[in-house]
Structures are given as C-alpha cells and as structure tokens.
Symmetry: C2
Subunit: 252 residues, 2 copies
C-alpha cells in the first residue's frame, strides 16, 4: 500500500498599516508561500493583511490559529510604539508578556550594555514560553508561540531568518507545478480545459491566467499537484489540446 | 460647529491560487488602496487572499460584507472553469446566477455573434440584479452585488476600470500623510516617538519603518491623519526631535 500523503497548511498574517495603505508593496507573501511549499511541503491557504490595531491582531490570531496548522506573522516586532505583535499574541493566548531571558542576552550582547535602551529592550519582550527564531542579520529574534511563528516585516531580514524556522515545522507533501504559456485567448480553450480539470478534479488543480508579452496576449496554464505522475498525465492532455488547436507555445 | 467627518472603509478580497502560491506577485492591493484613499477618501482596513474554492469565497463574502462598507474582489471573473467569483457571490447572497442582459449584449457585440462561444458567454453570467462596471480594455464588465464590487485580476484591466467604480461609492474623508526619511535607527527615537503618538492618539497615526538606502540604514516616519492641521502639528514636533538628536534627513 502506498504511503498516505500528508497535507500541512499555513496562513500568513501581514501586520502593518504601511502595506494596507498601499505605501509599501508587500514582498513577503510570495517569498513565504514559495519557500514553504518548496522546502517544507506546506501550502499557504490564506493571507490576511491587517492594521497595527491590538484587537484586530488578537481576533485574527485566535481564529487563524484554530483553522490552520501554522500561522506566520510578519511585521510589528521592532522597537517602536507601533510594534505590538508580541503583546497582542500574548493576549490572544492569555499568556504573560515578559522578557525572554535568552533574547534579552542576545540583544544586550549585540548592542552593548550602554546602548541597550528601552526601545531595544522591548524587542526581548515576548509571550511567556515563546521559542526563539534566531536572526543572523540584525540580532532581534523572531519567536514561536504555539503554532504562530512571528517574523519581522523587512524582507531582507525575514529572508535571512527563514531557514531557522525549518526545524520547528512538520513537513508535508510538496506541491509540484507545470506551466504552459500559450499564445491564445482563454475562451478558445476554456471548454476543453474544464473537461480535463473535471477528470482530475481531486488530484490536479488547473489554473488559467492571461498574460501580455512581446506585444501579444496569451494564457498561462498552471497545473499543480502533489503527484508528479498525475501532473504529467494532465500535461500530456494539455499538449494534445494545444496541438489540436494549433496554438503556439511561448518558451521562456 | 464643524462638519463631522465621515469614515468610510473597505476590504479587498483577492481571489486566486496564483497569488496565494507565490507564482504571481500581487499588484492590485497597493493600487486599490491608494486609489480609494486619494479619490474617494475610503480606507482599506483589511485584505484577504484566498484560493479559488467556492465555499471559501462564500464564507469570506458573507463575513466581510457585514463588517465593512465596501468589499472589492479581484480575480475569478474570466471565461475558464477556475473563474467562480460570480457564481460564489450569487450563492453567498442567495441570489440567482444568470445572464445579465446588458453584459450579454456588450460581449456579443464585442466578439461578434459567431465567435461568442460558451466561455465568453460565461462572462455575462452574474448574480441577479448586479450593476455593471464597464471595462474599456477588454469589454467583459465587472459587477456590483450589494456592497461587493467585483473586478478582474489582471492589473492593467483593473486599473482601466477603476474610474467606473467612482459613481457607486459614497465618499469619505481622505487620509493625508507626511513622510520623514531619517538616517537613524528606530531605537534612537522610539521613546520620543511614543510620547508624540500618545499626545495625538485619536487624530494622527504615526508609523515607523526601517529602510536601507545608499548603503545606509534609516527609518521612514509616516504620519497619517484626516486633519491636515493636526498632521502639521505632529510634523513640527518630529522636526524638533530630529534637530535635537542631530539626525540627517534624506531628501528624495
């Protein structure tokens, strides 16, 4: 009998007025989602972007942490007054919000005792019992509270810390994908595509996304599945459809 | 007595596996959020990104449409099998999902009767009673169901349609913002910043965002308020702080 494949999922909670207002273009969603799938076989099933408002953070942490295997938060763990992720997560789980001994030492060591001011000390305050996610770029650690992993909002720092999350995560089955970029319009292939999708409804997810390139319109057909065998079967049917309709493929 | 300012809010619901999987970098959130604030005084208070799954779309439409003044959906209104936004919104509000007469005519006229195939006809199917958002780029209209405005996912098409949403929206009060880019670290100013924020707690929102530019680290201080007068008062205090601490300002 074949080993049953395990599905592990996650949600991303982006905490920050700067993303919500449109001032800053988020870069963490695509990075986290790709990394989690490729490295851990974890599928991101929902993303939320919310403001730096305590009640909103608490409500979202409570509801998402029940619904998904893991929650990744980004943002709100720096030294300023608008960084309220740690205290909000503590409240969400009814935990104390206090200095994490090791985090305190790391930061004191990094800044030197004299320059270790109140703002910097704040970054050592976490929900009681939190585990640290070490930060090779700027010392201030992220932390894990139950199934919630809290990372900073600055993409370069987040990227440098992500490998340190790996050991805390239960691995799932990687989702493989294949993309065909076709010089055609969606409505030319939509009917056949639906027939193929219906045949593989529980195993392969087929998405269709219009694009504009080299002055021409086209459609990217993206198939995704945990089974490479079934993915190849779908691809074969797609190639047959492409040949029948005499559609040009864009090779990149 | 001064006229009471009206707060109007919105949520954005991005529907699409391609954004969630990290394959495609979203560009609609920042555009919509900026446009809504600048042109309509509408503040985006939450964004969600969800997969092309009917039940998930229905649940989110129901809960968000109760919680916010407007919901903007993007994606899932094309001709293929994975475009299920219209039918899901119909189900969320228990409305019929059927051809919209005017949309049908627009599309039939655009494609010509012979080329108006089933996939293309699908784009004329909407929740019963929906109002059209005209599409100057590629004909297929968006639609409004109660307080939910549904737009396509392709950024260039969405951008071209946004002006046609204006007449349907009740205007609120624009949020003004001022940014100071400082060559300092957050923890150097966090204490003073908190004091200023506390003084203006109900009127001005002050955010602090680290940046890296010209090989140096810095902090952007972004103040946001519906009152220009209070925004200027905060800015004066910030400039005083900057001068006291002898911090260099980055002019861009």
């Amino acid at each position: 009998m074949k080993k049953k494949k395990k599905k592990v999922n996650a949600a991303i909670l982006i905490i920050g007025n700067e993303i919500l207002s449109g001032r800053t273009q988020d870069k963490n969603i695509a990075f986290l989602s790709n990394w989690l799938n490729l490295n851990c076989g974890i599928t991101v099933l929902e993303v939320r972007i919310i403001p730096d408002v305590e009640k909103t953070i608490i409500d979202n942490i409570r509801s998402l942490s029940k619904k998904f295997n893991y929650i990744f938060t980004t943002g709100g763990i720096g030294p300023t007054h608008d960084d309220i992720t740690a205290q909000s997560i503590a409240k969400a789980f009814k935990l104390k919000y206090k200095y994490h001994e090791e985090a305190y030492k790391i930061l004191e060591n990094y800044y030197g005792r004299e320059k270790f001011n109140d703002g910097r000390k704040k970054m050592a305050k976490m929900p009681s019992g939190a585990k640290l996610i070490y930060n090779p770029s700027s010392a201030a650690p992220g932390f894990i509270t139950r199934n919630v992993l809290s990372l900073p909002g600055v993409p370069s720092i987040l990227n440098s810390m992500i490998e340190n999350c790996k050991n805390f995560l239960v691995k799932g089955t990687k989702v493989h994908s294949k993309t065909l970029n076709l010089f055609t319009v969606e409505s030319n292939i939509s009917k056949k595509l639906e027939t193929i999708q219906k045949k593989f409804v529980s195993d392969v997810n087929i998405g269709s996304y219009p694009f504009f390139r080299l002055g021409k319109i086209g459609v990217s057909i993206v198939s995704r599945s945990t089974s490479l065998r079934k993915l190849n079967a779908v691809n074969k049917k797609l190639i047959k459809l492409v040949n029948e309709k005499k559609i040009k493929i864009l090779k990149i």
